[in-house]
Amino acid sequence: MSEIELKDIIKKENLVYERSKVMTDNVLSFCPGCGHGTAHRLVAEVIEEMDIQSETIGVSPVGCSVLMYNFMDIDMQQAAHGRAPAVATAIKRVMPEKFVFTYQGDGDLAAIGTAETIHACNRGENITIIFINNGIYGMTGGQMAPTTLPGMPASTCPFGRDVEIMGNPLKITELISQLAGVYYVTRQSVHTPRNVRSAKKAIKKAFENQKLNRGVSFIEIVSNCNSGWKLSPVAANKWMEENMFPFYPLGDIKVDGEIVSK
């Protein structure tokens, strides 16, 4: 067996993976280890693979991913807090042939924007919604989110979420899966290679569904917020597996318009 030097491996013809060309060169503004970056990248990769860069319009929310438009090399609009599904509704209605997606955090989608989320879903807008659930308000500094787990501390529930006082976390993904206008609902994560591959497949399906004109494709990505959770990135991913996944179990919830029986 002949030995081979690194310089002979690192050649253009041997390249098997690189950052998507549908991303800009800007350095992502997220904290180290944040799943937002991975989710951004998957959206970009799907757009690149489907060759729909010129036909895609994205809507970024208020929150950590507000600057998504700086990282994605596609036309994008930044929406008011929670309003992305209404904004996306209009984009798709005036340009039905385009691919339209929103990218929203838990505060944006499941608290302040609950009405816009539910009604866009219920109308069956032919869009893709990507929902990043990390159980906390990251951008504003770690406050309680609609999806903060019972007992989980945040800066506005420093002793842990007491459901007697603060109410229950909202499983909005299960809720919207019940709506007739929703065609595809799945819950994914992006913290391991296996999960990344699965999430990417789901995002691709969600974009391809827009060609069918059957309604909303909704992808929840349970993700980490190591800064907000006050854990190292790797420890945050472990905490997520042990605490978030039992409450927000991964897997398909509704496929091709049919609820997946458990």
Partner: protein
């Protein structure tokens, strides 16, 4: 060509004008006294004829954000509501102004505050002309005084909105919205094609072709120095609008010793009051505002050097009168007369107010 005349409500005229001006989208939510706008559109089904999108949103908040989404695609998008609904839209309007998007917003004003009343009022003047939502911004505000102007101001409004990349508001009221008058309809204009939109709105988010960089519609800039620069750019734009887009009508001002300043329904009431006063030998003229922003300060200031006083007549507790005072700069007395909460002043009351507050004052 024979004129196309029709008897219609102000709210219907707005809707018909939207279709005929080639608008791309209307998003609304029912509220009295303007629900006829969306009702008329749904009856006409322009989505089957011109391809115009008409959608009843889940709230005024959603509707204005739909306008944001469509406007950001370079589309001619509009919404309509009445006072409480316009309050709800303010967040979205601020974002639209901050993102420099063109759109048309109709406010068929009713009495407030709060749920107030469904009767006509002009108590949203501050909200319309001083910004309304958060941040330093202005709307171009048109004030129709007839059903014909409701029709005409739709096309004018869209033209101004696209010319300046700025939201335009038509501030009407419950009288103009609900009353029926003869309207001469303009011709049906075709909707712009995607290539026309790309040319007219190179900033629009219609999908990034390889020939250009990606377009971003946002009102965010986290760098304070950049945000200040952007605000200065907006101020510069408003300055241009103030210089070029002031619209008003002078009625019998040449020999006038007293001026009634009014807009919309109040201006119509002032017409009768002026006749009554002139019959008494009192020389009264009217400055009817057509644009509330930009405000016709210059002409009022010029008249201030010639007349004995101004009466600002508006169905509010005194909002426009502040701009009249600023324009007149203490060169002549300025007083206010208004009825509130949905009450409509009679011409006789206006006569009495002028006689007591200005002539006798």
């Amino acid at each position: 060509m024979e004129k196309e005349l029709r008897l219609m409500k102000g709210n219907e005229a707005i809707a018909e004008a939207a279709i005929r001006s080639g608008a791309d989208a209307y998003f609304g939510y029912p509220i009295t006294p303007q629900s006829e706008v969306i009702e008329y559109l749904m009856l006409q089904k322009p989505y089957e004829t011109t391809g115009m999108v008409v959608l009843q949103a889940e709230s005024e908040v959603a509707a204005i954000n739909m306008v944001y989404g469509a406007a950001a695609c370079g589309r001619m998008a509009m919404t309509s509501s009445s006072s409480p609904g316009i309050s709800l839209k303010q967040e979205g309007i601020s974002y639209i102004a901050g993102a420099e998007l063109p759109c048309l917003i109709l406010n068929v004003v009713r009495g407030g505050p709060g749920l107030g009343t469904i009767q006509p009022s002009q108590s949203d003047y501050f909200q319309s002309t001083k910004g309304g939502g958060h941040g330093d911004y202005r709307l171009i505000v048109l004030a129709p005084a007839s059903v014909q102007e409701m029709f005409d101001f739709v096309e004018l409004g869209f033209d101004l909105a696209f010319k300046y990349r700025n939201p335009v508001m038509i501030q009407s009221d419950g009288i103009i919205g609900q009353m029926m008058e003869k309207v001469e309809l303009g011709p049906q204009k075709p909707r712009r094609k995607p290539e026309d939109i790309a040319k007219q709105c190179p900033w629009a988010t219609t999908g990034k072709p390889v020939t250009r960089g990606h377009n971003i519609i946002t009102s965010l800039d986290l760098v304070a120095a950049n945000q200040e620069k952007f605000n200065l750019k907006l101020i510069e734009k408003y300055k241009t609008i103030r210089e070029k887009e002031v619209r008003y009508e002078l009625i019998n001002c040449d020999d006038a010793e007293y001026i009634l300043v009014a807009y919309g329904s109040s201006a119509r009431l002032c017409m009768k009051a002026m006749d009554l006063l002139r019959a008494k030998g009192i020389k009264v003229g009217i400055v009817r505002l057509i644009t509330l922003f930009p405000f016709p300060s210059k002409i009022l200031n010029e008249l201030a050097g010639k007349v004995k006083g101004f009466l600002a007549v508006e169905m509010s507790a005194g909002q426009m009168v502040e701009d009249v005072e600023l324009a007149v700069k203490c060169k002549a007395p300025v007083e206010h007369f208004g009825r509130l909460g949905g009450m409509i002043p009679s011409p006789e009351e206006i006569v009495e107010a002028l006689e007591q507050k200005i002539i006798g004052g």
